[in-house]
């Protein structure tokens, strides 16, 4: 990956900080968030790397990473970070970068198939809230 003056000027840091309310620069890359993350092995960038990408303003990488979409919002990272950073909020902010541009991650057209499986209402409401521009 290439880091240029342009990437460092990208507004991804500002946006994620504003939406999450978290101080990204407090992260000292200890990796504790990644060590306990149950989804880390499916992520393009494990949570600590993902935070680094944001810190560096790597807008493209942040937006195309699958990381926030396989994050389960389980709050393990949040309760373990020695710097008190609420990483689950950073993942939410990263999802919202896409949702607020009115782009859905969940294919709404696949809802019928999902409903036929007898999914509970909480599953359906949650996926709309977390993975669509609702």
């Amino acid at each position: 990956m290439e880091i240029s003056a342009n990437t460092l000027r990208s507004d991804v840091v500002k946006k994620v900080s504003e939406i999450s309310g978290e101080n990204l620069s407090a992260c000292y890359q200890c990796g504790k968030c990644s060590a306990g993350c149950p989804s880390a092995d499916r992520m393009d960038h494990i949570p600590s790397q993902f935070i680094k990408l944001i810190q560096l303003g790597m807008d493209e990488e942040v937006r195309s990473s699958n990381t926030p979409w396989v994050c389960l919002t389980c709050f393990i990272c949040t309760v373990r970070c020695p710097k008190g950073i609420d990483i689950a909020r950073i993942m939410e902010a990263a999802r919202l970068l896409k949702s607020r541009e009115n782009v859905d991650h969940f294919e709404v057209s696949s809802l019928r198939a999902a409903l036929e499986e007898g999914l509970p209402p909480i599953a359906v409401v949650s996926v709309f809230r977390k993975h669509t521009a609702s």
Binding site: E18, I19, S20, G21, P38, S39, R42, V70, L72, T73, C74, F75, I76, T78, V79, D86, A88, R89, E92, A93, L96, H105, F106, E107, S110, A114, G118, L119, P120, P121, I122, A123, V124, V125, S126, V127, R129, K130, H131
Partner: protein
């Protein structure tokens, strides 16, 4: 004791086995769950964005409804509802200006919400206000050597402010409950690890793998039943066993019950209270094998 009760959408649909077993077993303990009138969906997930206020409207309106009935406590069964109501309540208590904005939006309501309702999960209510000793006194069926593992998942414990147990990494409240109903609690390392949650809708494979990992971890400790308190965990750990079996043919099914179903069973309540018919993996064959089957029609 009477207490205001918020069921949420899923307890009225997929998780009737949770609601029916809870209402019946609480009645045995002298606890009347008073369903609040005109309730709405809580939105299921707590919004984690600083600039997003509107998604707190639904949970706060539920707390306003509770206050309207003259009550200052609300109990929920579903872990997701519990988590969302509890965190939204905390947020508006810390931010009076946000509460004022939400009250302004709810201008059609007859009262305003002032942050004074306390949100409980049924397990905390049982431990703190009823007492596990009272639960123990009401048990009629000897569960003998039945080995039951608690599955907490995430939302009863994390983040810190919502936890129903003082120890968020090694909670014991569910094991204490299992001992109170007369079964043997099994400790297993995945009891507080996420089941994959709502990714069950758009990333089924991830959930199938998580379920397999969690259930196998429990089995290695000799688990016969798992109990849970979240209808989404229950769906992922129970119904998804169908796909687990397809992917891992050697896998053997494990019944996953709501904790209130285990309680109602140990109290000797009837079929209508247990609703085992709504569980994908039936607990009946294990109960028969262990000769502790005593279900009344």
């Amino acid at each position: 004791m009477r207490i205001s009760y918020y069921p949420g959408c899923t307890l009225k649909s997929n998780a009737k086995n949770f609601e029916d077993s809870a209402i019946a077993s609480m009645k045995e303990l002298g606890v009347e769950l008073d369903e609040i009138p005109q309730w709405n969906c809580c939105g299921t997930v707590f919004s984690l964005a600083s600039d997003d206020l509107i998604h707190h409207l639904a949970p706060i309106r539920i707390l306003l409804r509770t206050k309207e009935t003259g009550s200052d406590s609300l109990v929920t069964l579903c872990s997701m509802c519990y988590h969302t109501l509890k965190l939204s309540n905390m947020r508006v208590k810390e931010n009076p200006d946000e509460l004022e904005k939400l009250n302004n939006i709810m201008y059609m309501e007859e009262i305003t919400y002032d942050g004074t309702v306390s949100v409980y999960h049924l397990l905390s209510l049982l431990k703190e206000r009823v007492g596990f000793d009272k639960v123990e006194e009401r048990i009629r069926i000897d569960l003998g050597s039945l080995r039951v593992a608690p599955y907490y998942g995430c939302l009863l414990l994390r983040p810190e402010g919502v936890s129903i147990d003082p120890n968020i990494e090694n909670p014991t409240i569910m094991s204490e409950f299992i001992s109170a109903v007369g079964a043997i609690p099994v400790d297993f390392p995945h009891q507080t690890e996420c089941c994959g949650a709502y990714l069950t809708v758009d990333n089924k494979d991830l959930v199938v793998e998580r379920t397999y990992e969690i259930l196998e971890s429990a089995r290695r400790r000799g688990t016969e039943f798992i109990i849970t308190s979240c209808p989404l965990c229950q769906f992922n750990l129970d119904d998804r066993q169908k796909q687990v079996k397809q992917k891992f043919p050697e896998f053997e099914e494990i019944p996953v019950l709501y904790f209130t179903q285990l309680l109602a069973f140990a109290m000797g309540l009837d079929k209508k209270a247990l609703r085992f018919d709504l569980n994908y993996v039936s607990p009946l064959s294990i109960l028969e094998d262990k000769q502790i089957l005593a279900i009344k029609d």
